[in-house]
C-alpha cells in the first residue's frame, strides 16, 4: 500500500515536472529565434523609455533585429554596472554624462568611434561633455542646465544681478504677492548642483583644468580663499541674511512653491517646465544672475547620452544603433516631446526651436556654463559640498565650514 502511494506520488510529480519543462520549451525556441535575428536590449529611465520605444521598434523591424527597451526606474547606473559585471546587462544604456568616469573605471562601457562628420552634427559642448580621457564614450542626445525661470505676471523684467532679484522679490513680498523671495532648492543637506552658479559668481571653483581642458582632480578649488569668499556672499543671502536662500526649500517643494505662485523666481532646469505649463503660469527663462560686480554665474551643463555596454551581447548592432541611427533628428525631437531637454543634435535643435522657444532660452542660459565634471573624483564632492552649503545657508561660519568640507573631500580623493 505504502509503496503504491509512493509510486503514484512519484509519477504525478514527474508529470508535473514534465509540464514545467513544457513551459520552458517556447522560451527556448524564442532564444533560438533571437540567435538567428540578433537582439538589442536598451535600458533607460521611464520617461525616455516611452519616447524611445517606437523608434527602437522601427529600427528593429527595418533591420530584422528584436529590440527590447526596458525601463529601470531606480538606480539605473548602479544596476547597469552590477548587471553588466554579471553578464546580464543591456547592450545600450541611456544616462547622464557624469556617469562616464565610474562606468569606465568599472569597464562597463567602451568608446564609440564617430567620424568627424558625425561629431560635427552635435553641439560642441555636447561632444565635449561625453569625451573622457580623450575618448568619445557616448552619443549625446540632450543638453541640460539650470536657468532663472520667473513668473512674468509678478516680475515682468529679468533681474541682471542677484541683488536686483532680491530687491524686486522683497517688494513683491511686502506687497503680499509672494511669501518666498526665491525658489532655489537647498534642503537640509544642501544641493551642490543648484548652488553652483552662485558659487562660481562669488569666485569659487571645484576643480582646475588641465592644459587639454580636462578637469584636474589634483587642483581642488574647495577650501581655497575664493571658495570661502563665495560662501560668505551666499551666507549673506541665507537665513541669517536676506532670507532668499532657505533650507526649508528643497527638491520636493521648490517647483510646487513656484507653480503655487508663492515665489516669483525659480532656479531650476527644463524638467520643471512641464509642471509650470500645467499650472498655466506665464513665464520667461533667463540666465541665472550673478552677484553685482562678481564673475558670471556658471550653471553646470549636463548631457544625456547613449552608451554602448562593453559586455553587451550584441555590440555590432548596438554600435550601429547609437552611431548611425541616433544621429537622426526626428528621434531627438521625439525625446524632446517626452521631456523638454534641449536636443544635442544641432539640426534637431533647429527643428524644436521653431515650435518651442524654451529650448533655445535654456541653451542661452547655459552658455559659458561649466561642463559637469565626469571624473570619478566628483563623487567625493557632492555630499560634503552640499552639507557645507546647507550649514552656511543656515548661518554657519563659512571659513570653518568650508575648511572642514575641503578636508573631507581631499581625504576621499586621495584615498
Amino acid at each position: 500500500m505504502r509503496i503504491r502511494t509512493a509510486g503514484v506520488v512519484a509519477a504525478m510529480a514527474l508529470a508535473l515536472a514534465a509540464a514545467g519543462c513544457g513551459d520552458d520549451k517556447p522560451a527556448d525556441s524564442g532564444t533560438g529565434q533571437q540567435q538567428t535575428g540578433g537582439s538589442l536590449v536598451i535600458w533607460a529611465d521611464e520617461k525616455r523609455t516611452v519616447a524611445l520605444k517606437p523608434f527602437a521598434e522601427k529600427f528593429g523591424t527595418d533591420n530584422g533585429v528584436t529590440v527590447e527597451v526596458k525601463a529601470v526606474t531606480k538606480d539605473l547606473q548602479t544596476n547597469f554596472v552590477t548587471a553588466s559585471q554579471s553578464g546580464s546587462g543591456p547592450d545600450i544604456v541611456v544616462g547622464a554624462h557624469d556617469w562616464i568616469g565610474n562606468l569606465v573605471q568599472n569597464g562597463a562601457i567602451e568608446p564609440v568611434q564617430l567620424s568627424a562628420a558625425q561629431k560635427s552634427a552635435f553641439q560642441e559642448i555636447a561632444t565635449k561633455a561625453v569625451t573622457f580621457n580623450g575618448q568619445l564614450y557616448g552619443v549625446p542626445y540632450a543638453v541640460e542646465n539650470i536657468a532663472l525661470i520667473r513668473n512674468t505676471d509678478l516680475a515682468p523684467t529679468a533681474p541682471a544681478t542677484i541683488e536686483e532679484l532680491v530687491a524686486s522679490a522683497k517688494q513683491l513680498k511686502a506687497a503680499g504677492k509672494v511669501s518666498e523671495l526665491m525658489c532655489l532648492q537647498v534642503g537640509q543637506n544642501g544641493d551642490a548642483y543648484h548652488i553652483y552658479p552662485l558659487y562660481t559668481s562669488g569666485g569659487g571653483y571645484l576643480f582646475g583644468t588641465k592644459s587639454n581642458g580636462d578637469y584636474d582632480p589634483k587642483d581642488l578649488g574647495v577650501g581655497k580663499p575664493e571658495s570661502v569668499a563665495a560662501f560668505t556672499k551666499i551666507r549673506a543671502l541665507g537665513e541669517k541674511g536676506e532670507g532668499a536662500l532657505k533650507r526649508s526649500i528643497e527638491g520636493g517643494n521648490s517647483i510646487s512653491t513656484f507653480t503655487g505662485k508663492k515665489c516669483a523666481y525659480l532656479i531650476s532646469g527644463p524638467w520643471a517646465i512641464t509642471d509650470i505649463k500645467k499650472a498655466s503660469i506665464t513665464y520667461d527663462i533667463t540666465p541665472v544672475p550673478g552677484f553685482a560686480g562678481g564673475r558670471a554665474a556658471q550653471p553646470f551643463v549636463g548631457v544625456q547620452a547613449f552608451y554602448v555596454a562593453s559586455k553587451g551581447k550584441n555590440k555590432a548592432v548596438a554600435q550601429e544603433f547609437v552611431a548611425n541611427y541616433l544621429t537622426k533628428t526626428d528621434l531627438a525631437a521625439a525625446l524632446y516631446q517626452a521631456e523638454p531637454r534641449p536636443p544635442a543634435l544641432a539640426a534637431a535643435l533647429d527643428q524644436v526651436k521653431a515650435t518651442d522657444p524654451d529650448a533655445q532660452k535654456f541653451l542661452d542660459a547655459g552658455k559659458g556654463g561649466a561642463i559637469l565634471p565626469a571624473i570619478p573624483e566628483m563623487a567625493a564632492i557632492w555630499d560634503p559640498f552640499g552639507k557645507a552649503e546647507a550649514a552656511i545657508v543656515g548661518g554657519a561660519d563659512p571659513n570653518a565650514t568650508i575648511t572642514a568640507a575641503a578636508k573631507t573631500i581631499s581625504g576621499q580623493i586621495n584615498k
Binding site: G64, Q85, N106, V112, A316, P384, A391
Partner: protein, 535 residues
Amino acid sequence: MTTDHAAPPVPRQRGGRRSVDSGGPPVPRGSQGLGGLAGKVVVLGLVAGIAVWGAFPLIGARAWPGLAVLVVVTALIFYVYLSGRHIPAKYLLPGTLFLIAFQILPVLLTVSTAFSNFGDGHRGSKQDAIVAIRNASITQVEGGTEYGLTVATRGGELVFLLVDPTGAAFLGDADGLEPLPAGDVTVSAGRVTRAQGYTVLNLGQVGARSAEVTAFSVPTANGAIQSTGASRASERQANRIYDESCDCIVERSTGNRWTADNAAGSFVDSQGGHLAQGWRVGVGFDNFTRALTEPTIAGPFFRTLVWNFAFSLGTVFTTFALGLLCALALHSPRIRFRRTYRILLVLPYAMPSFAMLLVWRDMFNADFGLINRLFNLNVDWMGQPWTARFAVILVQLWLGYPYMFLVATGALQAIPNEMNEAALVDGATPGQRFRRVTLPLLMVALTPLLIASFAYNFNNFNAIALTTEGGPFPADNTTIGATDLLITYTYRLAFGAQGAQYGFAAAISFYIFLIVAVVSAISFRRTRRQEEVYG
C-alpha cells in the same frame, strides 16, 4: 501567548527576522487521506518543476557545482517525503533548507566580501581589467582611412567588404587588405551592396554573429581595421597593451608603464598613480582594521553608537508604552465601541511606512510644514540636533505603536481572568494588580517581541534615510549627522563617495551584526530567567 495577535511580527514594520522554520512545503503526515496525497503530489511536483526550471540556466552557464547542489537538494527532498521513515526529517528539512538559503548563505557571502576590495573600480577579474584598459585606449590611427563597411560571408567565413573615401572597394580578411576588381562589386552611397562570390549580410544577420564581427580585425601596417556597428570601419590601434613579461601595462605612444600590484588589485606607476580599472583581490583584515583605525570613521563611531542605542531603545519603549496604554484602556469591557476604537488605532500600521515617512518629513518642514503651522510655531525641526532627534522618534512612535497595541491586546486576552480575581480577593489595588500580576505575565509573552523590535530598529535604515538623511550635520564635520544610525552612516561611507565600496561596507555590516547579536543574546538569556520565574 498563543493568540493570533501575538504571532510573530508581520513583515512590514518589525519584520526583521521571521522565524525560519515556518513556511516551506506543508509537512504531510504519513500516507493518510486523499487530500494529503494530492497536497504532497502538488508540492513535490512544484519542487521538481522549480528544479527543472533552475537547471536550464545552470547547464547553460556550465555551472556544474551549482547543478550538483540542485540535484542533491531535489533528490533529498524527494527521498525524505517519499519514504515512509525519517519522520523527524520531514519536519526539519524545509526549515533547515530555508535557514541555509536565507540566513547562512548571505552571512557567508557578506563575510567573504568583507575580506576583499570589491567595489567600484575593483569588480571583475584581472583579465577583465586588462581588456577594459586595452579597449578604452583604442583610437583611430592618425591619418587612418575611414571605410564604408559591408559585412559579408565567403562560404560561411566572415569578411569585410570595404569602400574607401575615393570609392575603391577592398576585401578585408585575416590576411589583410586586398583590392576588389571594380567589375565584381556594386557600390552605392559609399558601401558595397553586392559582390560576386560573397553573400552580403543585413543588420539582423550581423547581430546574430555580433561577437565575431566586433572581434574581426583586418591587419594593416599601422594597426588594424575594425568595425563600428555594421556600416563603418576605420583603422585603429590600441595604445595600452598588457605585457606579460613585466606583468605591466605599456602605453605605446609614451612608453609609460603601470606595473600590476597584485595585493591592491591595481596597475600602478612609479609616481604612485594608478589606472582607474582595477580588479578584485583579497585584502585580508584591511577592511576590518580600517573601520577601527581611520580617524574619520572611528572617531564618531561611539557617539553614533550611543545615539543608535538611544534611538532603538527609545523607539521600543515609547511605542510599547503607548501601545500598552491603549491596549489596557480598550481591554476594559465597560468601554463601548471597542471594536471601532481598535480599528482606528491600528490605522497607522495599515499605511505604507515608506510614504508615511516622507509625509512626516514634509510635516516637519520649518516654513511649509503642517506642524509649525498648526501650532503656530517657528521651530527648525530638522535643522537642530535635538529637535531632529525628537522628530524621528516621534515619527517612529506614530508608525510603531499600533503594532505594540496589537500584540499587547493579544497578550492581555491570554492572561486568565482568575489571576486578577485572586489578586482582587487578596485585596490588591488596581496598581498593584497591574504591576504584580498583569505586567509580569505580559512581559513573558512580549519580551522576545521587544527584542526583535529592538534589533529591527537598530538597523532601521528607512526611518532615517527617508526623513533626515542623518542630518543635521555639524558645520565643521560633514561626515556624520546628529540623527545618523550606524547603518545610514555606513551606507554613506560605502556608497556616498568614490562610488561603491562593497568590501568595506560588508566589514562594517559585520560589526553591526556582532553588536545586535550580542545585545539580543544577553536579552534572551535574561528573558529565559524571567520565564523560569513566571512561566
